[in-house]
Symmetry: C2
Subunit: 489 residues, 2 copies
């Protein structure tokens, strides 16, 4: 066997082990008996250690040095393997396992602190997590910018500087749009009533199918938090139902279907290889958001959904235009995951700035709550009422996800670019959406984005798909047009 | 760290990896999307290879040589580790992976052959499985008896000679009892009607709880075949529902609860160690069968169940005595898993004799169907009507399980011994069972059998629990008394 073939065979087994770990994560969130938590933590620890051993195995370095790619695909495979190997080797094993251990505990402490609305017990361990992530960032950066090194884990090639420039351009126009809409005399009404959870779940499965989710290679279950997990031929999603808010279930399902079909639609030649997954968190989020928002919350698609909901739940008491308003209406709120399309990114930008300050050492964990509350009041115009509505709302920092939040907004920006290109390429898209037919859209996304897996770097992928480099302009134009019309601005 | 501690730490990780493999097996039979089969096979292959590497790791041999046990428990741990290590090392890696590969394919071929009722496509690969298992048996036996070497995998210490003596004593009395019952003027009626599958499933959960199953450390799902999987704090079972036969669901659940509570009730000090599982397949089956038969199919317990079923499904059309008859009635049939308590062991004895002949080389795979059909007609008095009712009915041989069938009957024999001892120790057991209260029985079994895990060898465990060495006599006495009364013999 050539060095390339030996390396790929080794990687394939590593990939299989990683898939197994992911599957156990799914199990834990959906079906695991609660008394199994401690035993499962031990099993996960063993798998993590084995994965770390494989990812830092010196033979990988030898194979990488000797391997000669025969074509662009092989070159991309080697690029991805080298990226992972270099990263894994830079972080001392002791630090990696300390981070795994501390964040595993911190997540439980965070959950209790949030439930009790009391940050005090959480602050010491969050302080420890930040210190460990700073150490990791410095090890990864090797003299470069530590925060950029963390970003690179989720969005290869992204830097705080380029993201900041993009986010600085987004913020004023989002704030202006939000303020104008909130001040408008036109205010869409909310949907009210009770909606049978079983029927919601059933309809969400129908929507998943309508957006191209392949149930023979996946399944939908209920869980506390909606998520997508797995790759290749076993990509599962979860959803949840709230009796008074069917949009929660329906749109979080469409969102997760965006993530899941990205994984399902990758070229089968890349299955079980380093190219066989979504290329970055930002590109992943672009798929979930374009499915959810630019397609799912469009006037034509909500017109079709309005009809289906009337069939399933009876007269919603709103006509199709008012239903579209109810789906898209702006509303006050503290929680990122419940935010509307306009304000969502303001939540992300707040977190991006605060976590950069934490990693830079410019903000102490003890001052985090105050900094959060000040910034929220400045950006949203009303004060945080309690910590669980403020800096305790997200799990991310407790589990060490620094550098992750930015990819949510980057995903929205990518979705804006892709939406503009897709609509230029498929002029009659709205006619199809009005029939509940997403195929022309999902086919365009599969062909131009999803099938490539990790072949192209994120910016290159979006640039190839759109014909221009990513920019925040299309997203802003789309939002201003959509909400300008809805609020008669 | 001492050699003992190092060895135990290594074993703990191996155990965790084995648990993970078992959990994926559960996933595969219950929730896995059907399109994921190929990917899952690859993941399982990687885990199997890693497990084999760990089980044959030369360091285990070094630690075993250096370790000094501080007490009986440590001595038992070392005994179990040595047993596994010696076995794993005797089988060449190439043979082990060839067996894994061929049996994985053979299972699918068998399933198709059974569904099509056509043995032809299955015979060549079964021939290959038998040849491989003969090679494995010879490698394990190192000059001793090959079939005994296979038996030892499932029932340490058992030999074909001692089992044969026991089975030879069973057979004539079982046949005589069956013939007398079938010829009797008294014939209990069967339960008829339709029973809502959801209500069956719900009632089976209630029965699981009544038999002490801990739902905080387990769960019940539906699957094609009932099974129990996992150990320690995550022991899951499956059941199935047949609308016209509620006993199928209820009694297979009680059976699996016997397996599962055995695992759940092992001393927590043994968790994640070689002593932390049931000691043998025979002892495991003794727990499932005593729960199902000596307890669950007893007159007092069925009296309670009769009342519960009337509450759940309405009047069954049978009084409590007739209901007891319906639960226990003997009936003609081809299928082992559907056999009554008297005839079940005759099915096992047939397989035991045929598979010994296959492994000894005295019976060719091409002659297996004829040999099966001749023996069945001799033992049961009517001919096999088609292969799926004959030698194609069980999955075992296709997946290489030679030496396993005998443990079913051995489990019944152990259950007979334990039942006699338990009834002597708990004189008012029937009063409790009549109230649906199994606690005195399950407590006795937990204390005398289950909590010990792998501490004592199987025969020693049963001898300690019963005060006498295992024998087939108590089982035969129990069956003759029970069915003698039921059939007025």
């Amino acid at each position: 066997m050539s060095a390339y073939d030996e390396l790929m065979a080794f990687q394939r087994d590593t990939h299989a082990l990683a898939e197994v770990t992911g599957r156990l994560g799914w199990d834990q969130e959906t079906v695991m008996p609660r008394g199994a938590a401690e035993q499962r933590a031990e099993e996960m620890g063993v798998l993590s250690a084995m994965l770390h051993d494989r990812r830092t195995d010196p033979r990988v370095g030898d194979w990488l040095a000797a391997a000669e790619p025969a074509d662009d695909v092989q070159a991309a495979q080697l690029r991805e393997i080298r990226r992972g190997f270099d990263k894994a080797r830079k972080v001392p094993g002791k630090l990696a396992s300390e981070i795994a251990r501390v964040t595993s505990t911190a997540q439980g402490v965070w959950a209790e602190a949030r439930a009790a609305d009391d940050p005090k017990p959480f602050l010491p361990i969050l302080d420890r997590v930040v210190a460990l992530k700073r150490d990791e960032a410095q090890a990864l950066a090797e003299g470069g910018d530590p925060y950029d090194a963390l970003l690179d884990d989720y969005e290869p090639g992204a830097t705080a500087a380029t993201l900041s420039a993009m986010f600085d351009a987004l913020r004023p126009r989002l704030v202006a749009l939000r303020d104008a809409a909130m001040d408008s005399d036109v205010q869409p009404a909310a949907l009210t009533g009770r909606f049978d959870p079983e029927a919601q779940f059933h309809l969400s499965r129908e929507l998943a199918g309508a957006f191209g989710y392949d149930f023979t290679r996946g399944r939908i279950d209920r869980a506390v938090h909606p998520f997508s997990s797995g790759s290749g031929d076993d990509v599962r999603i979860t959803t949840r139902t709230v009796e008074t808010d069917p949009f929660n279930c329906l749109y979080s399902t469409i969102h997760e279907v965006g993530h899941a079909t990205y994984e399902q639609n990758i070229d089968r030649a890349y299955l079980m290889t380093p190219l066989g997954g979504g290329v970055s968190m930002g590109v992943h989020e672009s798929q979930s958001r374009i499915y959810e928002n630019q397609l799912g919350r469009s006037r034509p698609f909500t017109g079709w959904l309005h009809g289906r909901m009337a069939e399933v739940f009876g007269d919603p008491g709103l006509d199709a235009d008012a239903f579209y308003g109810a789906v898209n209406r702006l509303h006050r709120g503290f929680i990122r995951t419940e935010a509307d399309e306009v304000q969502y990114n303001l939540h992300v930008l707040l977190r991006f700035d605060l976590e950069r300050a934490l990693i830079a050492g410019d903000l102490a964990v003890g001052d985090l709550e105050g900094a959060w509350n000040d910034r929220f009041a400045a950006d949203f115009g009303y004060p945080i009422d309690r910590p669980s509505n403020g800096f305790l709302q997200d799990v991310h920092w407790s589990v060490g996800l620094f550098g992750y939040f930015a990819t949510y907004t980057l995903g929205n920006v990518y979705a804006g670019c892709l939406n503009a290109a897709m609509r230029a390429a498929v002029p009659d898209l709205d006619d199809h959406l009005a029939q509940g037919d997403t195929a022309p859209a999902t086919t365009w996304l599969r062909e131009n984005v999803q099938r490539h897996g990790g072949l192209y770097a994120p910016r290159e992928l979006i640039t190839r798909a759109c014909g221009t480099a990513p920019s925040e302009a299309p997203l802003l134009d789309y939002l201003e047009t959509k909400f300008g019309a809805l609020y008669a601005l």
